[in-house]
Amino acid sequence: MTAPLLIAEGLRKTYPRPRRRLLRAEPPLVALEDASFAIAPGETLGIVGESGSGKTTLARLVMGFERPDAGCVRLDGQDIHALPPRALQRLRPRFQMIFQDPYGSLDPRRQVGWSIAEPLRAAGITGRTSLRDRVAEALEQVGLSAADAARYPHEFSGGQRQRIAIARAVVTRPALLVADEAVSALDVSVRAQILNLLMDLQEAMGLGLLFIGHDMAVIAALCDSILVMQEGRVVEAGPTARLITAPAHPYTRALMDAARGETLTRGAAP
């Protein structure tokens, strides 16, 4: 077993709630409670849960967008929340993110090539030709062409935009990719293409992947192991094969039922 790429230990995050009475503070909302996991290079961990389960909070903590109340996130052994801003910025090329909404994750006023080059510029790579070559390479990696760099996001379909967002995420050749509901907004036929693309890229680049979603079927198809979250807590965790054949927690079973609708009908009439 190789040394883990990412370790999260005992993550906890609360958000203050607005006061309802003048003199009594509301107890804070616990978005995430004691979440721990590890991802090895090339490995895929799935986080499955629904709105309010804390999975998006988890992604924001791992990306360093927010600070945890307790616990830590280590990338390559370094606690990212303890790093000074400059050092975190230098570490950014190592971990990148893909978002849910392919319409919102690209600046509508910027050419696609500009957006893809953004992580490179932030990392201090500024040579015109080297930027153009890296952008072209990333576009081709995701199944688009180098010429697409000069077009604007609204000229692309949802699936193509998600490919562009993936190109931006892999252009720095990161070690870890965080995907938050990255295929949820896509049509079924396009979703399969993107899932395949993610698997191809992972194998080609040895990417560790933290894949967050609500659909057990999608998570199970992609991930080596799964963490099931409900209301801020991890309710079940384990290797995918074990989790989908013998789900222990009732919530995991409900997620499986929802994912398996068609097999239900095929098996026995309701």
């Binding site: 967008f65 919102g104 932030a122 609204h154 931006r168």
Partner: protein, 272 residues
Amino acid sequence: MRHRASLILGAVLVGLMAAAGLVSLAWTPWPLAEIDVLNKLAAPSAAHPLGTDGLGRDLLSRLMAGAANSLSVAAGAVLLGGGIGTGLGLLASAWGGRVEEALMRLCDLSFAFPALLFAIMLAAAFGPSLLNTGLAIAFINVPIFARVARGAANQVWVRDFVLAGRAAGRGRAAISRDHIVPNIAAPLIVQATIEIATAILAEAALSYLGLGAQPPAASWGRMLAEAQTLLWVAPMQAVWPGLCITAAVLGFGLLGDGLRDWADPRLVRRQA
């Protein structure tokens, strides 16, 4: 297509006023300060298309020069105040927390302070002048733009492409420059256009009170004040500058309205 009509009408009115002002800088039908007491309050004629004022000065020439003063003071003041306000709004939005809280409370405070009173204070301290009038108008625009810019910027900051920029490792200043400003430009331009209309009125009011343009400089508000004493003798003296003010305010208002309607659906469509 209603917004097309207001856009075009607004642009025509504003264009006419601006053209008249620009021309006056180089050429006016008569020298601005040429007093001809023998020919005062003359009726319109071939020589004086709109007649002359109480000192026999050509009314059209003074209206043109007034356009230059009124428009440049209004536009300059809004640009200055708007620029500073937008900067503060961007700062508040990018840093959030206490910085944002402090800046916004400061804005609230300045909203509570009557702008006219401020202008009078400025005039009392530094003497009445067109420049001080402009500064006073600029000052009242700062909190307006700070609030609009912060509101619009806050909406952009939560969008995923900004988060993607942060994930890419870009700092707040770089994101503000590259993502926030282009995406809030449309509402700010609309706001600026509408504020210029308000500023023209403010300049006219201050000049009317004698706090703005000083004689012999021409300004619509000043001309209105001079015509007041002659209202029963020569009502047209007041009608012409009044019409100019109305047309300019209406023009900028229509232009702003039209720009907003034109910018909004396009933004929606782009994002959809």
